[in-house]
């Protein structure tokens, strides 16, 4: 397929995707068609394509739409694939005209990593962003602030940040993030309290009705006392420490053998 055909296809895709009420299935079809076409143009092997700005730009734009489309389809693995492919375009081709939604997508990617609790990947991704953008760009600042609050444990602030998301695509990941947080809070509570009244547990975990709380308690295997309306957490304090005889014997034998050799 020639470049002009790919271009017209890409145009059709961006028109459909940017329309008021896009047909996501149709976009998906167009995307897979485009991907095949791009492979025929050898967009995966860029050995000597450094200067073919036109082709590279089309490929990048298609991938960007693909990433956004995946978010709307709520398909995280697909989103990550698109982002991985886009990394090359963002990092290695400085000769391309800058993309208007680059930072938006990077921000989304950060949030995606955060929502899956992949903190170390999050920080690695953070290092690749230029410092000037790091401080001024609101789409990047948002996930960074979230991560800080998460690390501190100010879950309240994370919860309230839901209201001021920079773009509606972020909401999808925020919702996942909320579940992650809930589990975090639960695991903290298990260690920090010996028991907790169910009602208070509800407020801590941002639940509004009793049923949700009970279901959640069942999931985490908390012991609920219905009379007191309290949840009890299993403590690991009464674990006994035995003598690791096996290990000690092995270590002593090892010492003996080495000492023998030295003398």
């Amino acid at each position: 397929m020639a470049l002009t055909e790919v271009k017209s296809l890409a145009q059709a895709l961006s028109q459909e995707f940017n329309s008021a009420n896009p047909n996501l299935d149709k976009c998906g079809q167009l995307l897979s068609q485009l991907k095949i076409a791009l492979i025929e143009l050898q967009y995966l092997t860029h050995e000597d394509k450094h200067n073919n700005v036109e082709e590279l730009t089309v490929a990048r734009d298609v991938l960007e739409i693909g990433a956004q489309w995946s978010v709307r389809k709520k398909d995280i693995p697909s989103f990550e694939r698109y982002m991985a492919q886009l990394q090359t375009y963002y990092n290695d081709y400085s000769n391309l005209p800058p993309s208007p939604i680059k930072y938006n997508l990077i921000g989304l990617n950060l949030l995606c990593l955060l929502s899956q609790n992949r903190i170390s990947d999050f920080h690695t991704a953070l290092e690749t962003i230029e410092p000037s953008q790091l401080h001024s760009n609101p789409v990047i600042q948002y996930p960074i602030k979230l991560e800080q609050s998460l690390m501190e444990g100010s879950y309240n602030r994370v919860w309230s940040s839901r209201s001021d998301v920079p773009s509606k695509e972020y909401l999808f990941f925020i919702d996942i993030l909320m579940d992650t947080i809930r589990n975090e809070i639960a695991s903290c509570s298990e260690k920090a309290y010996t028991s907790l009244p169910l009602k208070d547990a509800g407020t801590l975990l941002f639940f509004t009705n009793m049923e949700d709380i009970l279901n959640f308690a069942k999931e985490r295997k908390w012991k609920v006392n219905p009379v007191e309306q309290k949840a009890y957490f299993h403590s690991d304090a009464d674990e006994k420490i035995g003598i690791p005889a096996d290990q000690i014997i092995k270590q002593t034998m090892f010492y003996a053998r080495d000492m023998d050799r030295i003398i």
Binding site: D92, S120, H123, E127, G153, L196, P197, I241, R261
Partner: protein, 520 residues
């Protein structure tokens, strides 16, 4: 920082060996006399000598190096070549275009292509007319080692002169030659060649271009078990990735390669520093701390390596803080480090007190320094460590405290926030305490007696194992010279036998240990 570890304290070492050589004047071999010469040239005598004699001395040195390279190639002993490369740093200061031109003219047979090429790189002024025919009985280039060595000297000269374009052309050509030659005796030289090759490209800001070349060379070096080139290339690649903040790729490189055990200390120190940085970014602070400690310890402690020491210590301080430890005060007082570490000292103070406001102030005041050091994002992570330290201090000083007071002491937004933060601190093992939600307070637990656990035994084992390993390693590293004076052949043979059995025994024991670990 780039060059610092490599241009290490060889001078001091040479001097040490020099005195040793004089003490045992009975058994003095070639390299001993070589170092004597090098050091005398370095020390006071230099000032007395005129320019002409000085030139002659340098030329004599380079000639001596040629002999050593030939010997190294003949005997398959890398140490002669290593010895030459060690003296490079002292030679480097004395290199001039004239000296190089003379050596080149005299070393090649007339009309040789390399000769012409090298002279071109040096420029037309280098060679005074008629100087070429001065010596006729000089050493001729017989081995490729000498050829590559001359190329290397010209490269170093170009680097010192800041002639980057020429340097790039010459180094690229040399890299090609080295790759085609495939001689084991070239390994040490090849490593140096790659180093300067990358340096030229880095200074011209074209690092990304040479990545494929380096990766290919790295693969070849690994296949040939060429430890020197391999270690140099891994470090060059890591530096390359770091330059563009591609930590993901750097991490993948590290996980897919093994750093050669026999690498020199300088290379190891750099590798450890890079490793420490990767691990720090991935939040694996304990591992990062270990690597950085090694980097700091392995790096030679002198003024030449000040840059590396500063960088490594900066990172080490941050990682220590992130781990919840406070670096020792004496670290900041060292003369080499004091000035560079000043901003980091202020940050440390803020973390130690657990004062959030002070932390933010210091951060704002020094943000440009931190950005330049590429440590800014790491320092941003310290924010919650400040809070943690605060909580720990409260937990230590109060057996029971209301959440309201915690909130006030730490300048937090609300009591709810305080509750979450304390709960998280408990889960992360920062403090040992429980919360009472209904009455709204935090109760600290009594300190556990550490001697009632298995912890001391574990620590004890670690230390014994370390000592034993040290002993075994030193036995393995011992050398038994063949031509030792006053020992007859039989005794030497016996000694070697003994050494061999010892090494074998240790190897077997290691295998046994591995098996043993599998059982555990």
């Amino acid at each position: 920082m780039a060059e610092a570890p490599r241009r290490s304290s060889r001078l001091n070492k040479n001097q040490g060996e020099d005195t040793k050589g004089k003490d045992k004047s009975t058994d003095q071999d070639v390299e001993m006399s070589d170092t004597t010469e090098a050091t005398t040239a370095d020390s006071g005598t230099v000032k007395v000598l005129g320019a002409k004699e000085l030139e002659a001395l340098v030329i004599a040195d380079i000639k001596q190096h040629f002999v050593l390279f030939a010997k190294s190639a003949k005997t398959h002993e890398a140490r002669f070549a290593v010895r030459v490369l060690r003296s490079l740093s002292s030679l480097r200061k004395r290199l001039t275009a004239q000296v190089l031109a003379k050596v080149i003219v005299n070393s090649y047979t007339k009309g040789d292509e390399s000769q012409k090429r090298l002279l071109e790189y040096l420029g037309p002024d280098a060679l005074p007319a008629g100087a070429a025919e001065e010596e006729t009985t000089s050493y001729k280039v017989e081995t490729p080692e000498v050829d590559v060595y001359l190329h290397l000297l010209v490269m170093i000269y170009l680097l010192d002169q800041g002639q980057l374009e020429k340097g790039i052309a010459l180094s690229s050509a040399t890299v090609k030659t080295v790759q085609e030659l495939n001689r084991r005796s070239l390994d040490q030289l090849a490593a140096k060649v790659y180093f300067y090759y990358a340096r030229f490209y880095e200074l011209s800001g074209r690092l990304a271009e040479i990545r494929p070349v380096l990766l290919n060379a790295q693969r070849t070096a690994t296949l040939r078990r060429d430890d020197d080139t391999q270690s140099t290339l891994i470090n060059l690649l890591l530096r390359n990735y770091f330059h563009y903040n591609l930590y993901d790729q750097a991490d993948k490189l590290v996980s897919k390669t093994t750093f050669p055990e026999n690498a020199t200390n300088n290379q190891l120190a750099r590798y450890m520093y890079y490793l420490g940085r990767i691990k720090a970014i991935q939040l694996e602070y304990t591992e990062s701390h270990q690597s950085l400690m090694q980097a700091v310890r392995k790096a030679p402690q002198n003024n030449v390596t000040a840059g590396f020491q500063q960088e490594a210590n900066k990172l080490l301080i941050i990682v220590q803080l992130l781990m919840g430890e406070i670096p020792e005060r004496s670290l900041f007082r060292q003369p080499v480090l004091r000035k560079a570490l000043q901003p980091y000292f202020q940050i440390t103070q803020a973390v130690r007190v657990g004062d959030l406001n002070k932390f933010q102030e210091t951060l704002a005041a020094n943000s440009n320094t931190f950005l330049a050091d590429k440590n800014y994002t790491l320092i941003l992570r310290l924010r919650h460590n400040v809070i943690k330290t605060g909580i720990r201090m409260i937990s230590l000083s109060y057996s029971r405290i209301s959440l309201r007071d915690v909130c006030l002491k730490l300048h937090l937004d609300s009591e709810e926030d305080a509750e979450y933060i304390v709960a998280k601190a408990i889960r992360d093992g920062v403090i040992d305490a429980t919360l009472d939600h209904e009455k709204g307070f935090m109760r600290s637990k009594e300190n556990v007696d550490i001697y009632s656990t298995n912890e001391p035994q574990h620590a004890f084992h670690q230390r014994i194992a370390f000592c034993l390993k040290l002993h075994n390693d030193s036995v393995k590293a011992m050398r038994f010279p063949l031509k030792a004076v006053n020992i007859d052949a039989a005794e030497v043979e016996a000694a070697r036998d003994q050494e061999r059995t010892l090494v074998q025994e240790i190897a077997e024991a290691d295998e046994d240990m591995d098996d043993g670990h599998d059982d555990l």
